[in-house]
Structure formats: structure tokens, C-alpha cells
């Protein structure tokens, strides 16, 4: 694995954050399977090293924009289980008071500008966030997460052009998990993804998205340079999603083989790999790791229980938050 200059505490936090994501997703999936969750959701399991490697290189002031597969980014950027599960269940104490749900979870206090259910929908937002930083003379950096499938959206090229022209502190992070829905990346992406960024004069890197230290090391360097005005940058992170496109996508053999899934899970799992490394390097003992895993598991279970018992928003909230200055939007309709 790649080396970084982070210390034990940093390593252990990275490990913990990856386990937190996996555990969150396992619980979310369980909520779906037991018909307790409204709607569908997209699992981040398998891709943990991407979100954690990147977000651990950011400060709370730095911003991210997220995707339909956004739980991992949200946890990695500092969110709490309780508010997240409440949101997934449409409860009032959720991050968005239950109005957003899984696909719109946002946590602005930690710099997460929100998940987005429009593929590519946040590319402009991330670029604009970087624009704010430059205009107001701040030094925060924005990371824009999106999938390989999203590279087909023209919006990406429009905003990369502007980011390059104006040297904005934004990092485009393409999570290439090999598929968009049920279609392989080769079938929907001609040429080379990194070359597309380079054609706009943007420095681009491809990196092993299962190696949290490699991701973190690269991100640290790029963030530091972006803060100095050397951005934008582009990263293509090679990774894999373990579950289906969404929790309901259970029979997947028509588009990808069980062997392929098995290979990634057994041989390239970012948590297993990092755990072995931690032990090998003597940074943590097996016991310590097991204890951490157990603690995270307990946290998640408590948060789920809390969220299940938590109240829904009152019906009077339905027309609140349409406009900042109009408490109940539908009042305007009555003469």
C-alpha cells in the first residue's frame, strides 16, 4: 500500500470511517429488506476507501457535493448516524427534516452540500462552490464526487472548461465502479476519461480506489495545490460497488457475474486490505480492531432503533421550506 505522512490516530480514524460506512450501509440494506425504509437506496459498500481517502484530506470548511450513492460521502465528511437514519426513514430529526431522504441527504455544517438524484446534477454546484471560495478570497477546496456513468453528461465538460479557465479550487472525483446502472463503463464511455479532463488543460490522475492510503496521499497533494490556486484537478478512482445498482437490484447475473463480484469482495476489499496493513505495520492489534468494529456496530444499531421510534414531521411542514421568507407557501393561495 502507498505510504502517507499521517500518524496512528489518522490511520485509525480512516479505518473507523470506512467501517462506519460499511456498517451504515448494512443497516440501511436491512431496513430495506425488512420493508422499513420508504423507497429505494443505493449502497456505497465496496467504495469506502474513495470517500474516506478523499474526505480525510479535507477540513470541515472544505466542501463536497455528493451523488445518489451518497451515504459514504456523508459519513466520511463527518455526519452522524442518528440524523442520517432519521433522514432515510423520513423522520423529522433527519438532516433534512425527512424532506430529502437518501438521495438528497445534505449536511451543510460539515461542508456536505448534498446528494443529488440527477446524475451529474452537482457538477455545476461544486464548481460554483469553488467559485465562491475564489471570489471571497477564502481558501477552501471543493470535491465533486460523481460516477463513471456521469461522465456522459455534457455539464461536466462545460464546468471543467470554466474551472480550468478561471483556475478554480475544485477537484473532480470520478468514482469509476465499472457500471452505470446495468451497463458496463466500456459500453458508454468512448476514449479515455482522464484524457477528457486533460484536453481542457486539467491535470488528471487515475488511482486505485480500493487503497485508502493511495487515495488519501494523492488527495492531500492535490488539495494543497488547489488551495494555492493551482487547481482544478481530476481524479479517476477505480473501484467497485458490492450491491446492486440499488437495494432492489438483487439478481444481477444478466449484467455481471458472481465471480467478478466475488473477486472484488475477497481480493480487493478496501477494509480488509487496510486492516491487514494496520496489523502488519503494528499500528493496531486485532483486538483493538474488533473492539472498534463492535463499537461502530452498536452505534449503528442504536441509531437505527432511535430513528425507527422517532416521529415523522407534522403534516403542517408540508408547505414549509418552499421559500425562506414565507412560512407556509400555500397561504399565498388564499385571498
Amino acid at each position: 500500500m502507498a505510504k502517507t505522512k499521517t500518524n496512528t490516530e489518522d490511520y485509525m480514524r480512516m479505518y473507523r470511517q470506512m467501517v462506519r460506512i460499511r456498517t451504515f450501509e448494512d443497516n440501511a440494506n436491512q431496513l430495506y429488506l425488512s420493508a422499513k425504509m420508504p423507497g429505494l437506496t443505493h449502497m456505497y459498500s465496496g467504495e469506502e476507501a474513495v470517500a474516506v481517502g478523499i474526505c480525510e484530506a479535507l477540513t470541515t470548511d472544505d466542501k463536497i457535493t455528493s451523488t445518489h450513492r451518497g451515504h459514504g460521502h456523508c459519513v466520511a465528511k463527518g455526519a452522524e448516524f442518528k440524523e442520517m437514519f432519521c433522514e432515510l426513514l423520513g423522520k423529522k430529526e433527519g438532516y433534512c427534516r425527512g424532506k430529502g431522504g437518501s438521495m438528497h441527504i445534505a449536511d451543510q455544517s460539515n461542508g456536505n452540500l448534498g446528494a443529488n438524484a440527477i446524475v451529474g446534477g452537482s457538477m455545476g454546484i461544486a464548481t460554483g462552490s469553488a467559485f465562491t471560495s475564489k471570489l471571497l478570497g477564502k481558501d477552501d477546496v471543493t470535491v465533486c464526487f460523481f460516477g463513471d456513468g456521469a461522465t456522459a453528461q455534457g455539464l461536466l465538460y462545460e464546468v471543467m472548461n470554466m474551472a480550468a479557465l478561471w483556475k478554480l479550487p475544485v477537484i473532480y472525483a470520478c468514482e469509476n465502479n465499472g457500471y452505470s446502472e446495468y451497463t458496463r463503463t466500456e459500453e458508454i464511455a468512448a476514449g479515455s476519461i482522464t484524457a477528457r479532463a486533460e484536453a481542457f488543460g486539467i491535470e488528471a490522475h487515475q488511482v486505485d480506489g480500493q487503497d485508502v492510503l493511495a487515495v488519501n496521499e494523492l488527495t492531500q497533494k492535490l488539495v494543497a495545490r488547489a488551495r494555492k490556486g493551482e487547481g482544478p484537478f481530476f481524479m479517476e478512482l477505480m473501484t467497485y460497488r458490492y450491491h446492486g445498482h440499488h437495494v432492489g437490484d438483487i439478481n444481477r447475473e444478466y449484467y455481471r457475474s458472481k465471480d467478478e463480484e466475488k473477486d472484488w469482495k475477497e481480493n480487493k476489499d478496501p477494509i480488509i486490505k487496510f486492516r491487514s496493513w494496520l496489523v502488519e505495520q503494528g499500528i493496531a492489534g486485532e483486538d483493538e480492531i474488533e473492539a472498534m468494529n463492535a463499537e461502530v456496530k452498536k452505534d449503528a444499531e442504536e441509531a437505527v432503533a432511535y430513528a425507527e421510534a422517532a416521529p415523522y414531521p407534522d403534516q403542517s411542514e408540508v408547505d414549509m421550506h418552499v421559500y425562506t421568507d414565507i412560512e407556509h407557501a400555500l397561504e399565498r393561495d388564499t385571498a
Partner: protein
């Protein structure tokens, strides 16, 4: 007549038209590999191959634009837009290009294209996957807009749409894909601009489209038990709109509720109600009442989402008020 689901009906319509006319093809995301996330197109790629059932990258403006160009040059594309909410992404190609080509060219170029998409909330899909945006396209001259309310209409309108030489947008209700309805085995078409009187009645007219037809029918059943005979009208296409059928019913019952799943303000209900008020004014006991979806983004929480759209109960409730003349605003 056998019963089939709305999904099957769409699938049959496409298969029949693709057999009939080799210039018809389907294009969109995951239409071949997966037969769409709703599995509506399952089996078509096996029969017609990947040349005519074309999986695209996630590039809605791009494949919509491509379809316009294909339609201009001798094919009949059926564009599959996975969610109606993505219509915002293709508005330029749909409204600046497809809708205007025939007019701008003085009748020389035309765009025989079908845009298949969907509408409807209460699926817990939140604000960007639950909108009913048919009003936006109905406002643009040059487009036709069809709103099937059951498997029967889904098949008949789709076949008509494919043979139409103009761009047609079809909105299917996401929640109805598995609903069964009797559909003839033999070929049939449903002409555009002809409303369907789903139920006859003399006391009040309920006009609904797509998902709201069922809501109106259920409301009519509730009302019937109370002795109120509601007439239920399904316009089937909102452009062109069968004004004659609507006015006839309005004049007969003298009370009308227009029900729609799009946002109420600046939407479909205002247009239909206005035409009724304008052209049947002296026949009405009360102005046409409008019931659209609430003017709020669709909330995720089930506790909130369900109250944003008209239901049989709220329609029946308003019908009762109209019958008892409670609905006329005070002053």
C-alpha cells in the same frame, strides 16, 4: 379480452409497431440491457437487436438531440426518458428543436418522434424523481401530449403516437406499470383528441388524466353510494384536447372538478377550468373547481408526500361541497 399490465401493453405496442415499420427504434438508458428499470421493455432487444433497441450513455440532451436528427431524416425514434423529472434536461431539444422544426421550415421538415416518460408521486422517490411535468410541454405549440390512464390507453395511444408525424410526449404513471386492464388481442389505435367517458353521471363532472382517472373513478364510486352520480372524463390527450366532450359534460352536470397530479398553479387545471368557464359559463352552478398537486416540491417523508396529491377522498369531499354549494368563495 385478456387482461394485461400497463407494462405489457406498452411493450406490445412497441413490438407491434417495430414489426410493422422498420424505421421505428427505441433509444434511452438501460433499455436493452435491462429493459428499463421498470422492466417495461423486457424482451424487445432479443427480438429487435441492439441496433433498434439502443442503450445510451447517461446523456439525455444528447440522445434526445440525436433522436430529433434521426426523426428528421427518415426514422421514427421512441425516446425512453427514465424519469419525467429529467425532462428539464431535454427541454431545448424538445421545445426549441423538435416542436418547432415543422413550423420553422414552413412544412418541409418534420419530426415523427415519441418521447416516452412518466409522472407521479407517492413512490417515496423525493423531489427529483416524483414530478408530473406535463404542463410544461403542453404549453409548447408543436408538441402533442398523451396521458394514458390504463393498459388499454397505454397501448392504443402509443401506437397512434408512433404513427403520428409530429413529436408526441407520452407520460405513463410509474405506479401503474403493474396494473391490469382488459386489452383487445387484435390491433387497435386510439385517436388523439378524443376523450373517453369513463363513467356516465348527471350530477357532477370529474375530469382527470393519467393516474387521476382512477382517483376520479374511485371518488365516483364513493359518491354513488351517497346518491351523487358523477361523470368521469378522461381526455386521454391534453394536446389536442377534446374540448367538445368536456364542454358537453360540463353543460350537462353544471358542476366540474378538474383533477391533476401536476402542481396546481400555472398547470393543466387552470387551462381546462378556464376553457370550461369561458365556454359554459351560464351553464355552471359554480366555477370549475381545480385540484392539482400542492405547489411544493415533492417531499420524501411518507407522512408528507401522501397529502400532496389529490386522493379519492379529497375529490369526493370537494364534490360534496360543490353539490351543497359550499365551494363558492364568500364575498
Amino acid at each position: 379480452m385478456r387482461d394485461i399490465t400497463l407494462s405489457q401493453a406498452v411493450n406490445e405496442a412497441l413490438a407491434e409497431e417495430m414489426r410493422r415499420d422498420e424505421t421505428v427504434f427505441i433509444i434511452g438508458e438501460d433499455v436493452a440491457e435491462a429493459g428499463t428499470p421498470f422492466k417495461v421493455l423486457s424482451g424487445l432487444v432479443e427480438e429487435f437487436g441492439t441496433e433498434r433497441v439502443v442503450d445510451t450513455p447517461i446523456a439525455e440532451p444528447g440522445f434526445m438531440g440525436l433522436a430529433v436528427g434521426a426523426a428528421l431524416t427518415g426514422t421514427r425514434p421512441v425516446v425512453d426518458l427514465m424519469f419525467g423529472d429529467f425532462i428539464y434536461l431535454i427541454m431545448d431539444q424538445l421545445c426549441n428543436q423538435a416542436a418547432k422544426a415543422y413550423y420553422m421550415s414552413g412544412g418541409k421538415l418534420n419530426v415523427p418522434l415519441v418521447l416516452r416518460t412518466n409522472l407521479g408521486a407517492t413512490r417515496r422517490s423525493a423531489a427529483q424523481h416524483s414530478q408530473s411535468l406535463h404542463a410544461l410541454v403542453a404549453h409548447i405549440p408543436g408538441l402533442k401530449v398523451a396521458m394514458p390512464s390504463s393498459a388499454y390507453e397505454a397501448k392504443g395511444l402509443m401506437k397512434t403516437a408512433i404513427r403520428d408525424d409530429n413529436p408526441v410526449v407520452i407520460f405513463e404513471d410509474k405506479l401503474m406499470y403493474n396494473d391490469n386492464a382488459p386489452v383487445p388481442e387484435e390491433e387497435f389505435l386510439i385517436p388523439f383528441g378524443e376523450a373517453n367517458i369513463k363513467r356516465e353521471g348527471s350530477d357532477i363532472t370529474l375530469i382527470g388524466n393519467s393516474s387521476m382517472v382512477q382517483v376520479c373513478e374511485t371518488a365516483a364510486e364513493i359518491l354513488a353510494k351517497e346518491g351523487i352520480e358523477a361523470e368521469v372524463i378522461d381526455p386521454r390527450t391534453i394536446v389536442p384536447l377534446d374540448e367538445a366532450a368536456i364542454l358537453k359534460s360540463a353543460k350537462k352536470t353544471s358542476r366540474v372538478i378538474v383533477v391533476d397530479e401536476g402542481h396546481q398553479s400555472f398547470g393543466i387545471t387552470g387551462e381546462i377550468a378556464s376553457r370550461i368557464n369561458e365556454k359554459a359559463f351560464y351553464h355552471l352552478d359554480a366555477p370549475a373547481l381545480r385540484m392539482g398537486a400542492m405547489d411544493v416540491p415533492v417531499p420524501f417523508s411518507p407522512a408528507l408526500e401522501d397529502i400532496t396529491v389529490p386522493t379519492p377522498e379529497t375529490v369526493a369531499e370537494n364534490a360534496r361541497k360543490l353539490m351543497s354549494r359550499e365551494m363558492i368563495h364568500a364575498a
